[in-house]
């Protein structure tokens, strides 16, 4: 069996299992971890398809950057807020089914049109002469230079959106608020540690 096939059959079950695991686990951080495993398997598949540059990008950007943001949000927003998730997602459920079905159809059509159920696109080997990264550069910066430039506009919009959403302007604290805060003693009790636990 050629090496490609061995690697594929090792990682394909892992990627499917991790995807299912991500859907089934209750804890949001565990789900994110499964998603990272899945991204990693996807990166290995890029490698199998002779695209080592995409392999690196997949790990750096998806597994590295985007999942860090995910974990930040999950960690810091307090997952243990107590509201059952299915009560908040009434509209989303039918919508998810619809989009999922659409996605399956789209995948089918794209694969059918793209490779016609062949296992490998033959052009990859000739395109990759002189290195995959160089090949990506050659196409990206000449033939597709306009989409490339538009990407920077996309990043610009994303940065502005992040600022608008996340950045709160410094708020001036009024004297009344300070008085109110200073005047009311905090009623929460601070227990003394170890009083009853000591042997």
């Amino acid at each position: 069996m050629p090496l490609d096939n061995i690697v594929f059959w090792v990682f394909a079950p892992i990627s499917i299992a991790s995807a299912i695991g991500m859907l089934l686990v209750r804890n949001a951080v565990h789900a994110a971890l499964f998603l990272i495993v899945n991204f990693f398997c996807l990166a290995v598949f890029y490698l199998l398809l002779d695209a080592p540059f995409l392999f690196a990008v997949q790990i750096v950007v998806y597994a590295g950057a985007i999942m860090v943001l995910f974990l930040f949000v999950i960690m810091l927003l307090g997952v243990d807020s107590g509201v059952p998730i299915h009560e908040r997602l009434l509209v989303q459920r039918p919508l998810a089914f619809l989009l999922g079905a659409a996605f399956v159809v789209e995948m089918f059509l794209a694969i059918r049109a793209g490779v016609g159920f062949a296992t490998k696109a033959p052009a990859v080997f000739t395109a990759n002469e002189g290195g995959n990264t160089q090949a990506v550069a050659k196409i990206l910066f000449t033939q597709y230079f306009f989409p490339f430039e538009v990407t920077s506009v996309l990043l610009l919009v994303a940065a502005i959106a992040a600022m608008v959403l996340a950045h709160r302007k410094a708020r001036t604290v009024t004297q009344a608020e300070i008085d109110a805060a200073a005047g009311e003693p905090d009623t929460e009790e601070m227990p003394v540690y170890g009083a009853e636990a000591a042997p």
Binding site: L69, G78, S152, L155, L156, A170, A182, Y193
Partner: protein, 162 residues
């Protein structure tokens, strides 16, 4: 091609075996005498208090994570350009200058809006003096109030009023 990665796989297995093996070997050899006090989270001797759930952290951290993604994607685009910008010549340079320039506009925007400012807590620099004055007034007034015999509950309340 794929065979190039074989040593890395071997190294990953070796490092993994080392890490897991030392964890397991240690768990067999070391003493294990837990008690509730030992197992409680470290809190300088107090009973552990969980941070209140909900919004626990400065929103700056989210902002940093999001800005990181934006700039990370930008640098990832730089890598293929870096290996082949000689053959792309002046066209490639101008192309990348436009790209970096556009992202730099975002950078300037964020800077002007104070997205990179970590100083002085949440207080804008121009308001700092005002806040100092107000705090000072508060401090002197409370000193007189605190002059009465200290009550532990109130003492804590005043200290944690922020």
């Amino acid at each position: 091609m794929l065979i190039d990665y074989l040593p890395i796989v071997v190294m990953a297995v070796l490092a993994g075996v080392f890490a897991v093996g030392s964890l397991m070997a240690s768990s067999m050899l070391r003493p294990n005498r837990p008690n509730p006090v030992k197992l409680s989270a470290y809190e300088c001797g107090n009973d552990p208090v969980r941070l209140p759930s909900g919004e626990r952290f400065s929103v700056k951290f989210y902002l940093v994570a999001m800005l990181f993604i934006i700039f990370d994607i930008e640098t990832i685009f730089l890598f293929p350009w870096a290996v082949s910008f000689r053959s792309l010549g002046l066209f490639g340079l101008v192309e990348m200058a436009v790209f970096i320039g556009l992202v730099f506009v975002a950078y300037v925007y964020i800077w002007r809006k104070g997205g990179f400012d970590w100083s002085a807590g949440e207080i804008a620099p121009n308001e700092a003096d005002e806040v100092v004055e107000r705090e000072r007034a508060l401090f002197t007034r409370s000193e007189q109030e605190v002059a009465k015999p200290p009550d532990v509950n109130e003492w804590q309340g005043a200290g944690r009023a922020g």
